[in-house]
């Protein structure tokens, strides 16, 4: 139990580091770096715990992205930055790169390498399952991050008359 938890924490810390790396690529303000790390770490932790309990990866990504989206509103108020500045880098580590890779790999094997019909059917299945998982994770990440923003847009968190 303890070792699993430690492993989860280690992986989540790397998710936080990945988020900061992307943040720096997108030139986020210095003040936001620590926040991005925390959000990336938290989102990673939630996602990996959910995956540990065998929850579907699309749902897990959605919940983790919503965590980032909801938390970024009070944080934006706290450090006086618009929420996109740290919500987008924080979800980048959850981008379904591995599924994209598997999709490309299957497409390549399907098109170039194998002429055996029964194997080609397996590749076909791989293309569809990986491709659609990738697409749905992407959509759930976007919705998770942007929905709190869209819902609260009319009454923005920051007030002018203070």
């Amino acid at each position: 139990m303890i070792t699993t938890l430690l492993e989860l924490l280690e992986v989540s810390a790397w998710a936080g580091i990945a988020a900061v790396g992307f943040g720096i690529l997108f030139n986020i303000p210095r003040k936001a770096i620590f926040t991005v790390f925390l959000l990336g770490f938290g989102a990673g932790f939630i996602k990996f715990i959910l995956l540990h309990f065998d929850i579907n990866i699309i749902l897990a990504s959605f919940i983790a992205a919503s965590f980032v989206g909801i938390l970024s509103l009070p944080l934006a108020h706290g450090i006086h930055q618009p929420p996109v500045v740290f919500s987008i880098p924080a979800v980048i580590p959850m981008i379904p790169g591995y599924f994209a890779y598997e999709t490309v790999l299957s497409i390549m094997s399907f098109t170039f390498l194998d002429k055996n019909d029964s194997k080609r059917i397996v590749f076909m299945e791989d293309i569809f399952s990986n491709g659609f998982t990738m697409l749905f994770i992407l959509i759930s990440l976007t919705i998770g991050v942007s929905l709190p923003l869209l819902l609260l847009r009319k009454h923005t968190v920051k007030r002018t008359d203070n």
Partner: protein
């Protein structure tokens, strides 16, 4: 005549703001909101047609109802969240303190002149995120090291190609090829427990995350055209990445 000049100045300023926001990777709604805020400070109304390469903007003076329309072409996109953040902050301050045209101009100039992180810091930070990705996909520390090296080389290639003003998709292709060639060495010699994870994650730094997320937020806001353009741009980038990966895998005859 005086108001005409003033309106032209306002139109220029608003176009400048819209263009740097768009280029820095703000979604269409954010650009609109920011322009509206600045326009209201200057006692004007503004209407705009925003696309990825051109912005058309009309300003109308609230008192005289005179109007002025201008078109601006956008430079190449380069994501910069510091600019988005500072302009957003400036717009709030402008409303609170009721800034004049020249004050806003001055603030925008200081925003543009802010420095980016140096290329070396970006190289190292992004290589660490490459290693992080590898860890997320179950690599051990040998895989992580190789992912770090391939990301570093790939990003270095991307930056050099940008400096020589290559077509951006060709730059992405070259970067993806460089990174996946290095990572393929790991798969070929079966280094570490999960060499596949290294290969899959070595090209992830190229994934157009901002373009794809912005494209869906634009769709949700019903800015369908901009959303489609962003999605198509993102898709082209993904294809360039996949092509680089293809070529590397063909060279190493992987699976």
């Amino acid at each position: 005549m005086k108001t005409k000049n003033r309106l032209e100045g306002i139109a220029d300023l608003l176009l400048e703001i819209a263009s740097i926001l768009m280029v820095s990777g703000a979604n269409t709604n954010r650009v609109n909101v920011n322009i509206d805020r600045f326009a209201s400070v200057l006692d004007c109304e503004s209407y705009s047609l925003i696309s990825q390469k051109t912005i058309i903007l009309t300003v109308i003076d609230n008192e005289t109802k005179e109007n002025y329309t201008k078109v601006k072409n956008l430079p190449g996109h380069k994501i910069d969240f510091t600019i988005i953040s500072s302009i957003s902050k400036a717009s709030w301050k402008a409303i609170e303190e009721d800034w004049t045209l020249s004050q806003i101009k001055q603030e925008i100039n200081t925003v543009i002149e802010q420095k980016r992180y140096s290329n070396y810091i970006v190289l190292i930070a992004v290589s660490f995120s490459g290693a992080g990705f590898c860890k997320i996909f179950g690599g051990d520390y040998l895989n992580l090291a190789l992912a770090f090296i391939s990301t570093f080389a790939g990003l270095f290639m991307l930056q050099s190609a940008h400096k020589r003003h290559f077509n951006s998709y060709i730059s992405v292709f070259l970067a993806s090829l460089t990174a996946s060639l290095l990572a393929s060495i790991g798969v070929y010699f079966n280094l570490g427990t999960q060499p596949d994870a290294t290969l899959a994650t070595s090209v992830l730094f190229l994934v157009p995350g901002v373009a794809l997320i912005n494209s869906f937020t634009d769709f949700i806001d019903k800015n369908v055209l901009n959303g489609m353009v962003r999605f198509a741009n993102g898709l082209m980038t993904v294809l360039a990445i996949a092509l680089g990966l293809f070529v590397a895998m063909l060279i190493f005859q992987l699976k």
